[in-house]
Symmetry: C2
Subunit: 196 residues, 2 copies
Amino acid sequence: MATVDAESGKAAAVAAEPTPPVSGGRGGFSGADVALRALLFAVTLAGLVVLATAKQTVLFPVPLLGVAVPMPAKFKDSPAFIYLLVALCVTCLYSLLTAVGKLVSGSSASTAKNIFLLLLLDVLYAAVMASATGSAGGVAWIGLKGNSHTRWNKICDAYGNFCRHIGSSVFLSLIASIILVLLAAINAHSLYRRSR
Amino acid sequence: MATVDAESGKAAAVAAEPTPPVSGGRGGFSGADVALRALLFAVTLAGLVVLATAKQTVLFPVPLLGVAVPMPAKFKDSPAFIYLLVALCVTCLYSLLTAVGKLVSGSSASTAKNIFLLLLLDVLYAAVMASATGSAGGVAWIGLKGNSHTRWNKICDAYGNFCRHIGSSVFLSLIASIILVLLAAINAHSLYRRSR
């Protein structure tokens, strides 16, 4: 009878704890997850500051009148850059909230449901961030190279400082998009390991 | 002894088959997955055709010379539209391959590993498609509205047909991006149901 109890007890233990090696691996990935979220916060905040401070005024001389007209350039001039600012803002807030949430709740909150919900949000934010990066990048490219077919002149030869700000912000947004895809992959891997 | 065997057998059966209700639900989601992939194929193919046929030549009169100069507009004029074409091409191929693969292999191939890999690819393609949509959308918006600050004139008043093609293609790409995010969500849900 003792053998019986031991055996059925063992079986019950196996049923109650189906994937013991996962939790160790999950811990490691959870650390990478929090670190990536902290990095995402830093990158989006930097992108936000760089974009918001993209402002330059250039004096264009008007030979006929003998005066110089100030022509300012700021990120608000293009809807694509406003979209990028909004995307960076919400992603920055999202990364802060999820990183703090993960740190406060610890490993107790890393249930399958929470990982699934985080994965959905990561995918959504990755898509929004990627589209904003593409949109601002497309406009910035015209500013840098111009388009002879449509006679859109490049402006970066005159507005060098402004363009450096915009370019840096687009680059940081690209990094943020890649981090979000990585975060989605990490969460997907966590779910995958639990499902095996 | 017979009772013992029955009990341990029952426990073993529970351990071997941890989530019996999942497979039925998975079948339903797998059908939605294939249907969405077929829709994705149709949408990206339509977007591809509409973008590739975006070509219009407008005659601009030159009053001084008394002649009209033909000015063609085609999607190759902007790197953003070339990027969109490439993104639509690879997504179209990807949707075809995965839809056919799912149909041929049936439910036997829907292992956790395959779902995980498909989820990763879906997220990657969603990000690429979203960035291409944003990029082309940003340039198309300048073509439609112009930008008075940088003196980029709108061209859609002259090239109406060309702009309709580009606009339709960008809209179809947006639909494709949303479908890819939905596919990622469905695969994530499959993994989540298996992990419970």
